[in-house]
Amino acid sequence: MRLINHIPARPGAIILAALPFVLIFVAYSVASDFRLTANPQDKLLPAPSTIAETAERLFTTPDKRSKEILLWNDTLASLARLSGGVAISAALSLVLGLAIGLLPYARSLFSGFIAVLSMVPPLALLPILFIVFGLGEVSKVVLIVIGITPFMTRDLAQRVMEIPKEQIVKAQTLGASSWVIAQRVALPQVLPRLISNVRLSLGSAWLFLIAAEAVASDVGLGYRIFLVRRYLAMDVILTYVIWITLLAFVIDWLLKSLSRRAFPWMEAGL
């Protein structure tokens, strides 16, 4: 039989899915053990048990000076920036995407501009943002917005243009104005796409967030990672990395279930 026709059965599939994680964990443990037997003071690869202890301390023990648990503060600050930036981008890209997709004048005006804008490397703009908006929250949110809006806008505009012409004509024969077509025909059909765009853009959004926090901040997940890097606190860094990954995973999963719940017509044909 051809390789493309070999399909793993249920238990096998689960084991296969778990395999890379297990391998990484085993490889890490072995390597860490190796280094720690050679030099118990080694900080580069802390033992998994050390990481677990550190994680427990980070999640539960308040800071001596501020009496607050820093990890939760960092998480809240980062999530606020991330969701602010992503929400603004989603709203902007939705409005622009509908306008570009439906209105020929808006298409002429914006589509070239946005194509060029999406070529600008956002991180190169970071210094400018710090100069213009200061080192506070605004510059971090703006970086996320600049970083992900052009892509989301282009994709949504494309989706709007892919709505069959027949539907747009049909709506007109029912007397719909441009506004009604945008809001009752195009918008509901691109909302699922908006959610999948947000899911796709979250990776970049995290990247921009952590970069901005690393450069200038006094709280935030990215800030903390880059702060403790000076003390080579690998156990803290790894805890934060795993925590960020977990957050990203949960957000993605929530968006996916939201999309499935909110748009039953998408699956009607399947």
Binding site: P164, E166, Q167, V169, K170, A171, Q172, T173, L174, G175, A176, S177, W179, V180, Q183, R184, V185, P188, Q189, F263, P264, W265, A268, G269
Partner: protein, 255 residues
């Protein structure tokens, strides 16, 4: 007398002529079938009747009006596919035919209730009441087209345009759709233009059958001349036009 009049209509894309000198008049309540070779411009003609595009030259008027510049509620349409809204349920698709002309595309309160009960009556009429809460993608092709026709009729257009409405259906479903369309037509006396590739269908449903073809042909430049109406058959009496012809020209009966 003439309800729709098409006067010396031309259409061209770039320097390709598609239609030229198209002239016809249609009385209110007539059912016009349109046939012709693939690519000869039947859909183009329908798009101009729909005002989705404007003629290069000439005028199309409904009830003495001006040539329209964009589609409006005077003209209903059913395409071969994509004629209903996939994100609305069957019932919502019918209500949309009443609510889309409102400023926000929605009806509220008593108006909404009234539209809902009219939609339910229509669903009963078109035999879709058992699937009123489903989305179009879960319906069969025939049901989708019945919904599309019901939706177009709900808006009470002055003319109904059908572009190969049954082109994607199997022969059995097609026959059912013919009965359905004929019944609806008897009830409403709607003026209908229908493009089809099926000659039997054209003669069975139509009062008249218009044939589009190129009267002139330039072998060096096929795009030079456009198509026009080359035949205009009377198709009443179950598509047996010769009976009328014999009435009009008894001399033809003698050999």
């Amino acid at each position: 007398m003439s309800f729709v009049s098409v006067t010396n209509v031309w259409q061209r894309y770039g320097n390709r002529s598609i239609l030229e000198r198209v002239n016809t008049t249609v009385a209110e309540g007539e059912f016009i079938s349109i046939v012709g070779a693939s690519g000869c411009g039947k859909s183009t003609f329908l798009r101009m009747l729909l005002a989705e595009e404007r003629p290069y030259k000439g005028a199309i008027s409904i009830d003495g009006g001006e040539t329209a510049v964009e589609p409006n509620r005077e003209r209903g349409v059913v395409f071969q596919k994509y004629s209903v809204f996939p994100h609305l349920t069957v019932r919502e698709n019918l209500i949309a035919a009443e609510s889309f002309e409102k400023p926000f595309g929605r009806l509220r309160g008593a108006a909404r209730k009234a539209a809902e009960s009219r939609a339910d009556a229509t669903l009963e009429r078109i035999g879709l009441n058992h699937v009123s809460g489903q989305y179009p993608a879960s319906l069969s092709g025939g049901m989708q087209q019945r919904l599309a026709i019901g939706q177009a009729m709900t808006a009470k257009p002055r003319i109904l345009l059908l572009d190969e409405p049954f082109g994607a259906l199997d022969p059995g479903t097609r026959l059912q759709m013919h009965d359905f369309l004929l019944e609806l037509r008897d009830e409403t006396n709607m003026t209908v233009f229908m493009v089809t590739h099926d000659l039997d269908e054209a003669f069975k449903l139509g009062d008249r059958v218009l044939v589009f073809d190129k009267p002139r042909w330039d072998p060096d430049d096929p795009g030079l001349h456009g198509a026009t109406i080359t035949y205009d058959f009377d198709a009443r009496n179950k598509g047996m036009p010769f009976q009328d012809i014999l009435d009009q020209y008894p001399s033809l009966a003698r050999d």
